[in-house]
Symmetry: C2
Subunit: 152 residues, 2 copies
């Protein structure tokens, strides 16, 4: 077993870009690793997380409790598609589509979740400050980047 | 009628805080004013908007078309509740609950929408770069800010 303090330093050192922090977020989901998940987030009482179809969860204590409840069922089978990035020197807004698979009474089901992840550059590296995920859709809706056809 | 150029300058001058920009966003919704709406957004091909239950709409042309489609039905009866703010010198993340009312075949219906609004400070003032709204809920769910009761 590695020294947990060394592990924490190692994780912080790795989060030198928003992309690395986002990768850690999804690895923590895939591994059901609560400590790794919370190392991704800024330590701030105004961080906020909206799970698909759920309420808004605010602050480190409540966000930790919410992920603990998710991980009770084990790791989350999530893959990231379509990352779009809007980044400045200290702030990054990423738009991702998550492919989530879960075993249900009807067998393995797949849902596509549209999520917005926001990161700020802190003294501890890039940290997540917001994760907002919409309720899953049965299909992977393409982004709309061209105007839709109108009637006139 | 006022000179539209003067109006545009006036709007930019007003957006000296993220709060002012957010107020303009909801006023544009309430007035069904497409030009006012687009003055709120950063002029960037990576701005992104997710309307409740909808796909991700990316870039100024597509975002404009999406709001045009919304405003075809007239102004949106929306009121903002519970603004939470996480702000730095150049980036602001606001978490709001929107109370949206619409006339349907079943009469006036109310839905509560959880939305995340992200603003960046630009040379043109604070501009919206992302609006992510979850599908409406029939009730105003309170934010979870304390850990939920667990079984152990």
């Amino acid at each position: 077993m590695s020294d947990p303090r060394a592990r924490k330093v190692s994780q912080a050192a790795l989060m030198s870009t928003a992309d690395e922090t986002e990768a850690s977020f999804y690895e923590a989901m895939q591994q059901g690793d609560l400590d790794k998940m919370m190392a991704v987030w800024a330590d701030d009482e105004e961080i906020a997380c909206v799970h698909p179809g759920g309420p808004r969860v605010v602050g480190t204590v409540a966000v930790r409790a919410a992920f603990e409840a998710v991980f009770v069922n084990g790791p989350v089978h999530v893959q990231v598609h379509h990352v779009r990035r809007m980044e400045s020197a200290v702030c990054a807004v990423h738009h991702v589509t998550e492919k989530v698979q879960a075993m249900t009474e009807r067998g393995m089901e797949t849902a596509y979740v549209i999520a917005t992840n926001v990161f700020l550059r802190t003294a501890m590296g890039w940290r997540m400050v917001a994760h907002h995920a919409s309720a899953g859709l049965p299909q992977d809706l393409p982004d709309i980047t061209e105007p839709r056809t109108t009637l006139h």
